[in-house]
């Protein structure tokens, strides 16, 4: 398979899965969370680039570590999570720059999907499929939790279990997302397709489907435009996604 098709396929799957998961994050006011998580994955990305392994594999443990540290500090200090997130993610970015080779900085910051290897692409597509299936499986219960925790508890839903699965899915999508849009832009791939979809959707099924479609479409468009313009695909994906959003505001219901 050509390198271009590999990139396109991985990008479309990752973009779609990110948009789909993003629809659960918007009502929780968590759309922006993927941003700092992507930033604090940067040391892992840097390690992967230095030693030549898949950057998602490098990113994932750092995202998990970051989530754990924020949780731990919050318990210890009772300070607001957003302030602690600032501490943790800025430290991640700072540490990354100690050993990130400067010629690799672009790949780390805005992604490098055009050079994805065959086995990484297969792995990404498989993982995205799994993420889509799990999100679909927890969707009703998570929506109920998003609407009202009391209502969810009255239905005997185990909130802790569902929130844990949900956080793990976010960590996974961030780790996959850094491949496509780098450590700087991960918030955009979960946030923008979702708000675009929110502008147009009449009901929940449309909301989910459109977010998935817009996520995939933005990835495809960015990667294609990158072939034409020789500009990096990550930023082009975000700009395509933002363009769709602006168009959707015209048609907002």
């Amino acid at each position: 398979m050509s390198q271009f098709l590999l990139s396109l396929l991985s990008g479309v799957f990752i973009g779609g899965a990110a948009g789909f998961l993003g629809t659960l994050m918007l009502p929780k006011r968590m759309s922006l969370v993927a941003g700092p998580l992507g930033h604090l994955a940067l040391p892992g990305i840097a390690l992967a680039l230095v030693y030549g392994f898949d950057i998602s594999l490098g990113a994932f443990p750092f995202v998990i570590l970051g989530i754990f540290l924020i949780w731990l500090f919050e318990r210890r200090t009772r300070l607001p999570a957003e302030a602690l997130t600032a501490v943790v993610f800025a430290t991640g970015v700072a540490v990354a720059f100690f050993f990130l080779p400067i010629e690799e900085a672009e790949a780390a910051l805005v992604g490098d999907i055009l050079n994805i290897k065959l086995n990484d692409a297969v792995f990404s597509v498989a993982l995205c499929t799994l993420i889509l299936l799990i999100v679909e499986k927890i969707y009703s219960k998570m929506t109920l939790i998003n609407i009202s925790e009391d209502l969810a508890k009255s239905q005997k839903i185990n909130l802790g279990k569902y929130n844990l699965v949900y956080l793990l899915l976010i960590a996974l999508i961030v780790a996959l997302g850094v491949k496509v849009v780098g450590g700087l832009l991960t918030a955009a791939i979960v946030a923008i397709p979702t708000v675009t979809s929110r502008n147009l959707a009449k009901n929940l099924s449309q909301y989910k489907l459109l977010a998935l479609v817009f996520g995939s479409l933005s990835s495809a468009s960015g990667i294609l435009l990158s072939q034409l313009t020789l500009l990096p695909p990550g930023p082009l994906i975000i700009v395509s996604s933002a363009f769709l959003f602006v168009v959707s505001t015209v048609f907002k219901r």
Partner: protein
């Protein structure tokens, strides 16, 4: 006597503050119990404790295999999700047939299924919430402020619905309110509450009770905002 709920020495402490102190009461099957008290009296917290949603000390004992439906006071976050009425019922695994049956019993037509929750009137939304709680075929309904925030026309329709449900389904209903008029019209028995139990009795007894005036005359000393999410 056929009790469906027994509460003994219930105490709830939240964030270092005593929200409920030493409550004891029973509820009989088929009874409509009003829980009356000013803002911040711990009424919503009592419902949450009965549902097991907040930590408590003491005994909350439901009858065997009793199913409890909960109608929350408000759901501010529901408008963040573009949810149709049909999809809202699907969240509870209600089949289309069940949903239709429920719509009929809450007096709404099928055309409402395609509407977005966010586009409903306050009265329609309240009835949908009641219907949603009915979908799990409960024996008991816990109801937080049935009429709060509903326009007058909507209020009447919710009244009528509750009176009918009481008659038709032999439901036990516990509802929280601060409006005396609802109590007289619907309740068999009343608890009045301001952190502690101030009185128990029938609505008629309450009319002459000094507890009522005491309940509303005494300032609530530790006003606490108890609806973090509706």
């Amino acid at each position: 006597m056929d009790f469906i709920l027994r509460v003994e020495n219930l105490n709830v402490r939240l964030d270092g503050e005593d929200v409920l102190v030493d409550l004891s009461f029973d509820v009989r099957k088929g009874e409509v119990l009003a829980i009356l008290g000013p803002n911040g009296a711990g009424k919503t917290t009592l419902l949450k404790a009965l549902l097991g949603n907040v930590p408590y000390k003491g005994v909350v004992e439901w009858g065997e295999e009793v199913r409890v439906g909960y109608v929350p006071q408000r759901l501010p976050f529901i408008k963040d999700v573009p949810l149709s009425v049909k999809e809202f019922f699907k969240l509870e695994n209600a089949s289309e047939n069940e949903t239709r049956g429920i719509l009929e019993s809450i007096g709404l037509g099928e055309e409402i299924l395609g509407k977005r929750i966010g586009d409903l009137s306050s009265g329609q939304f309240q009835r949908i919430l009641i219907g949603w709680a009915l979908a799990s075929d409960p024996d008991v309904l816990l109801f937080d402020e049935p009429l709060a925030g509903i326009d007058i026309g909507g209020q009447e329709s919710v009244y009528i619905l509750l009176e009918r449900l009481k008659g038709e389904k032999n439901l036990t209903i516990l509802f929280v309110t601060h409006e005396l008029s609802v109590v007289y019209r619907l309740a068999d028995r009343v608890l009045c509450l301001n952190r502690k139990m101030l009185c128990k009795g029938t609505p008629k007894e309450m009319l002459t009770s000094e507890a009522i005036s005491e309940l509303y005359a005494s300032p609530v000393r530790f006003y606490q905002h108890e609806h973090e999410e509706g």
